[in-house]
């Protein structure tokens, strides 16, 4: 999901996928799509030969990111607590683009 965390903690094997949070295996009731994701993940598991390898799964989510509705219905308590700080990061995010 977020392979960037690998740089912080070191994960033995990562099959990274660009799918929304809460649905890393695929869409609701899409058995065929879920199977593709899992079979490629298993194939990677079998071939990974040393610690720290990341395999980037080739799948693309069929909706635009802003339409994926992955966020909880209410802002989480930790985000609420740091909301002002997070808003200030908006400028930094724009600068990094």
């Amino acid at each position: 999901m977020t392979p960037e965390f690998h740089r912080e903690i070191g994960i033995p094997r990562v099959a990274a996928i660009e799918y929304p949070y809460g649905r890393p295996v695929g869409q609701v009731d899409d058995a065929a799509g879920q199977r593709q994701v899992l079979l490629q993940t298993l194939s990677f598991l079998e071939k990974a030969g040393n610690p720290g390898q990341i395999f980037h799964l080739p799948f693309t989510w069929p909706e635009e990111a802003k339409h994926t509705k992955w966020q909880p219905p209410e802002i989480s308590p930790i985000i609420k607590l740091y909301l002002d700080e997070i808003k200030k990061m908006s400028a930094a995010a724009k600068r990094s683009k």
Binding site: M1, T2, P3, E4, F5, R7, E8, I9, G10, I11, P12, A16, E18, Y21, G22, R23, P24, V25, G26, Q27, V28, D29, A31, Q34, R35, L38, L39, L42, L45, E46, G49, P51, G52, F55, H56, L57, P58, A65, T68, K69, W70, Q71, P72, P73, E74, S76, P77, I78, I79, K80, L81, Y82, I86, K87, M89, S90, A92, A93, S96, K97
Partner: protein, 172 residues
Amino acid sequence: MQNTGKVVNGFVFMPPSLGAWIGKDIPAQPFSGNIPWTPLKKPISETTFTLMTSAGISMKTDPPFDVEREKIEPAWGDPSSRQIPASATEKDIDVNHLHINTDYIKQDINVMLPLKRFKEFEKEGQIGRLAPNCYSYYGFQPDPTELLTRTMPHVADQMQAENVEAVLLTPA
């Protein structure tokens, strides 16, 4: 291992400010510490799997993950775990997680914990077998001490008791 050419951006679904805030603590350099490593001992088709997710899934018959305390203590996350029988379906589970939309998991557990898919793989001979029990914990852990020192050793014991040889972890 051939890679596919795609490079996954883990922040693509986040509002840019939230991504920048979370990403500010991630080092720019590759991880340089020791990474735990257990080689796969057999082909996948002979390997016993279990599944584990950080999505806060619990059986309706068990206590839910404690999100009420987190609402009062925003820097605390429930450090416990739950066993989820491999036969569980959406009807059997509850999902409590304050950082994602849990509706999709309640509609189809396999989007997060692919029990049905792994039972299919077992029948088809793609994997050796799926162990009788799978697991869930709560992924928001600002201080993971209790999770790592008390909860996970117990989970590892439960996995070993069922001869688990590989774990697929699906982060929420």
